[in-house]
C-alpha cells in the first residue's frame, strides 16, 4: 500500500519531468548553445535519476545517470552538441519516457542498447574534442564512418565480459542507426501523449477552496436555521448532506500521510547519531495516518527538534548502554495514532529519561521559580518546565541541539495549530513526547458563550467541563479566585475583568481579578464556569451565558489587529456576526506569569 503510493508519486513526478525534458529539448534543438536549457535539463535528469535510484528502478536510474554525465560535460563546455548527437540524445529521452511508462505498467523495457550507445557518446564526445575541432560541425559520411569505426573499437574495449553477454542479442550500437529491437515501433510511441493521473495543485488554491466551503457551510447553517423557524426542515436535508459531503471531501484533499514527514527522519537520525557516535535505530509506526498538510508543515520543525534531541540527549552512548544492561543500539520510535478529530504523534526514546531533580536545580538557577515553589511541585509538573522559554537543560551546547531554540519553540508551534504536547518520562528508561494535533485545521468544534453581550467561542479541545457554582463557593486566594471542581482546586477568572481593561496598566492592576466578583452581592448567585485545561492546568472562565456547541471555521485576524491579545482568531456565525475565538494558551500565560502568579 505504502510502496504503491510512493510509486504513484514517483510516476507523477517522473512524467512531469519527462514532459519538461521534452519541452527543453525542443528548445535546445533550435539553439544547441542554449545554456539555460542545458542547465535545466541537467537538473531535471539529476533529480529524476535520484528519485529512480531511491525507488529501486535501476533501469531508469542508469540511463538517467549516463544522460546526467553527458549533460554535465555539455554544461561545463567540454563538449559541444552537434545535430547528430542531439538526435541520439532526443531518442534517449524518448526511451526514458518509455521506461517510465514501463514502470507504470510493470513492463521491462529493453534499454541496454541505449545505455551502451550513451556510454559511447560520452566517451566519444569527451575523447574526440580535438577531432571535432578539426572536422568542423558538418557531419559528413566520412566522419560518420570514422566515428563508427572508433566507436566499434571503443565499445569493444568498454564492454566487460558480462555486459557482452547481455548484449549478445543487441550487438554493438552504431550511432545514428536505429536498433531494430528497441526502436521498432518508435513512430507509434511518439504520437502517443500520456497524461499523469495526478494533478498538482498549489496549496493556496486549496486554502481558497476550503474558505469557500467554510462560508458555504455557514450559509447552510443560516438557511437551515431560518427554515426551522418556519417549520420547513425536510427540504433542506439534501442541501445539508451535499454541503457536508463537499466540506469533508475538500478537507480530505488536504490530508497527507504522516509518513511523508516520518520517512525524512531516517536520514536525520543517521546523521545526528553518527556525529554523536551513537547507535540508533528508528522505528516508524502508523505512517499511513492522515493529517492536514498545513498542520504537518507547521510542526515539522518541532518534530525535527524533538528527534534530534532524542538522539543527542535521550539516547546514551553504546558503552554506557552496555553498562546499564541495555541493548547497544538505542531505539527511537515515531508513532502516529488517530483519535477522532485528533492525530497523536509520539516521539519515544529508550534513553536516559529526564531527571526531575536536575530540572529543579536548573529552574532555580534560571530564576524561573522560587526554591520553595519548585520543591512543592510533583516530578511530572517539574519536568514541564522544559517547555518554559529560557530553559535549556543541557550545559554543553553541541552542534546538534541546544542552540538556543528550546522546547518552548516546540510548544509554541503545537499551540499554534491548536494542539497539545505532553511528556512522559521514566528515569533510566526513556522519554515520550506526545503531540496531540488536530487532523484538520479547518473545522473545529467550539463552545459558544456570551460575555458583555458579545459572543465568544473556545475550541472544545480546551474545555473540560461546564459547571455552575454559587458565589459563596468561590474564594479569594491572593490576588486570584479559586473554587473546587471534582476534588481539584481550580483557578477561576471573570473573563470580563480582563476584557474590559482600557490599557496595559489596568491589566496589571493586582485587584483586577476580584472586580466582577466583588460586584456580585448575592452569595447564592449562580455563576457559570467553563473549565478549560491548558498545559494540564485547570482554569475556570466565568461567562455571562452559555450558548451552544458548534462547528466553526476559525480564520486568523488580519492586519491591523493580528496581534490582539487573548484572541486566536475569529469565525463568522450563521447570523453573519463575527465571533472571536479565545486563545486559552495566551490567557493562561497571562494568569500564571510572575505578576499574576496565584501561588
Amino acid at each position: 500500500m505504502k510502496e504503491e503510493e510512493l510509486k504513484q508519486i514517483f510516476l507523477a513526478e517522473a512524467q512531469d519531468s519527462f514532459e519538461q525534458l521534452n519541452r527543453l529539448f525542443t528548445q535546445l534543438e533550435k539553439n544547441h548553445a542554449d545554456r539555460e536549457a542545458t542547465e535545466a535539463i541537467f537538473r531535471i535528469i539529476h533529480t529524476l535519476k535520484g528519485n529512480a535510484a531511491a525507488m529501486g528502478f535501476e533501469d531508469v536510474a542508469s540511463v538517467g545517470h549516463l544522460l546526467e554525465d553527458i549533460f554535465s560535460e555539455i554544461r561545463k563546455g567540454n563538449i559541444t552538441l552537434t545535430s547528430m548527437v542531439f538526435n541520439d540524445l532526443f531518442k534517449a529521452i524518448d526511451k526514458l519516457g518509455e521506461m517510465i511508462e514501463g514502470v507504470k505498467v510493470d513492463k521491462k523495457v529493453p534499454y541496454k542498447g541505449m545505455r551502451a550507445k550513451l556510454k559511447v557518446i560520452l566517451r566519444n564526445l569527451k575523447g574526440e574534442i580535438e577531432y571535432e575541432h578539426t572536422q568542423g560541425g558538418e557531419s559528413s559520411e566520412k566522419k560518420d564512418k570514422e566515428i563508427e569505426a572508433t566507436l566499434q573499437k571503443q565499445l569493444e574495449e568498454e564492454l566487460t565480459e558480462s555486459q557482452k553477454e547481455t548484449l549478445a542479442s543487441e550487438q554493438p550500437v552504431p550511432i545514428g542507426i536505429p536498433l531494430a529491437d528497441e526502436f521498432m515501433d518508435e513512430e507509434e510511441k511518439k504520437s502517443k501523449i500520456t497524461f499523469s493521473d495526478f494533478v498538482q495543485v498549489p496549496v493556496s488554491k486549496l486554502d481558497t477552496l476550503l474558505n469557500l466551503v467554510g462560508e458555504l457551510a455557514i450559509e447552510k447553517d443560516r438557511i437551515i436555521a431560518q427554515g426551522a423557524s418556519v417549520g420547513v426542515t425536510n427540504e433542506y436535508t439534501r442541501l445539508y448532506r451535499i454541503t457536508s459531503d463537499l466540506q469533508y471531501s475538500v478537507m480530505g484533499v488536504r490530508l497527507v500521510q504522516v509518513g511523508a514527514l516520518f520517512h525524512k527522519f531516517h536520514r536525520i537520525v543517521r546523521d545526528v547519531a553518527s556525529i554523536e557516535n551513537k547507535k540508533v535505530n528508528l522505528d516508524l509506526q502508523g505512517t499511513e495516518i492522515e493529517i492536514d498538510r498545513n498542520v504537518l508543515q507547521i510542526i515539522s520543525d518541532s518534530m525535527i527538534h524533538l528527534v534530534r534531541n532524542a538522539v543527542s540527549h535521550g539516547i546514551e552512548g553504546p558503552e554506557e548502554r552496555r553498562k546499564k544492561g541495555k541493548k547497544e543500539q538505542g531505539t527511537i520510535q515515531l508513532r502516529a495514532t488517530s483519535d477522532k478529530e485528533y492525530v497523536i504523534i509520539e516521539v519515544n526514546d529508550d534513553g536516559y529519561g529526564i531527571d526531575a531533580n536536575k530540572i529543579r536545580k536548573k529552574v532555580v538557577e534560571k530564576n524561573l521559580a522560587t526554591p520553595e515553589a519548585i520543591a512543592s511541585l510533583s516530578d511530572d509538573d517539574v519536568v514541564k518546565f522544559i517547555f518554559e522559554p529560557g530553559f535549556s537543560s543541557v550545559d554543553n551546547v553541541t552542534s546538534v541541539s541546544g542552540r538556543g531554540v528550546g522546547m518552548d519553540v516546540v510548544k509554541k508551534a503545537v499551540d499554534a495549530v491548536g494542539g497539545k504536547i505532553n511528556i512522559k518520562t521514566v528515569l533510566g528508561q526513556g522519554t515520550t513526547f506526545s503531540l496531540s494535533l488536530p487532523s484538520s485545521m479547518a473545522v473545529k468544534s467550539a463552545l459558544l458563550f456570551i460575555i458583555n453581550n458579545t459572543e465568544y467561542a473556545i475550541p472544545l479541545s480546551f474545555t473540560e467541563a461546564v459547571i455552575s457554582v454559587k458565589k459563596s463557593s468561590i474564594h479569594k486566594v491572593g490576588s486570584g479566585l479559586v473554587t473546587s471542581h471534582l476534588d481539584d482546586t481550580i483557578t477561576v477568572m471573570f473573563l470580563r475583568d480582563i476584557f474590559d481593561c482600557k490599557d496595559n496598566e489596568e491589566l496589571q492592576n493586582p485587584q483586577l481579578l476580584h472586580r466582577s466578583f466583588d460586584q456580585i452581592e448575592d452569595p447564592e448567585a449562580k455563576i457559570n464556569i467553563v473549565v478549560v485545561s491548558v498545559d494540564n492546568k485547570m482554569i475556570g472562565f466565568v461567562v455571562d451565558r452559555l450558548l451552544q456547541q458548534k462547528e466553526i471555521i476559525e480564520k486568523p485576524l488580519g492586519k491591523p489587529v493580528e496581534n490582539a491579545r487573548f484572541i486566536s482568531g475569529a469565525t463568522i456565525l450563521g447570523n453573519g456576526n463575527v465571533c472571536l475565538v479565545l486563545d486559552a494558551n495566551d490567557i493562561s500565560e497571562f494568569l500564571f506569569k510572575p505578576t499574576f502568579a496565584t501561588v
Binding site: N452, F499, L557, K559, P560, A564, N577, V578, L580
Partner: protein, 185 residues
Amino acid sequence: MNVEEPSNASPSKEERIAEALDMAKVTIDDEQEKKSNIIVFRLGEEEYGLRIDQIKEVVITPRITKIPLTPSYVRGVANIRGNILAIIDLEDKFSLNKTINETSGYTLVVESHEFNMAILVKDVPNTLSVADTDIDYTPAVVTEMHGEQDYINGIIKIEDRLIILIDIFKIITKEDLKTVIGSKI
C-alpha cells in the same frame, strides 16, 4: 457642497455610489488634464478625502464585534462579504467630535492586500475630481499644523471648501499597531 444628508438615505444609495465610482473612473480616461479622484466624507466638522484607489467599496455598516484590549479607535471586527475586517473610527483616532452612529452609518472598505480594514463614516461619501493644481502639498502647512502626523497628504481647496487629503495606510502604521494593548511582540 454636495454632501448628502442622512435623511436622504435610501436603499438605492449604494447603487448611486457605485455609479459615482464608475463615473469617476471614466473621467480618468477622458480628461487630459491631470486629475485625481478623491472620495470625500465628513469626520466631525471637517471634510476628509481619500484617493479613490485606496477604497474598494462602500457598504452599510454591518454589526461590529468588539475586540477586547484594543485601542478605542479600533471599533472591532465585522463580516463584510465573508471577509473579517477591522473597523476603524477615524473621528476617535483624530480626536474629533463624535458624529458617527454605528448602527446607521456607512463603512468604506479599504483596498489592500496587507490590511483587512474599513473606515466608519456618517454619510454616503461622494467623489470629487480634483486637478492636481488644486491640491496643496506644501509640507510647511502640513507639518506646522500637525507635527509628526505625516498621514496628511495635502489640503484640497475648491471654491470655499477645504478637504483634508489623508493616506489611510500611514494612519495605521506599524508604529500604531504597538498601541494594541499588551500586544504580543
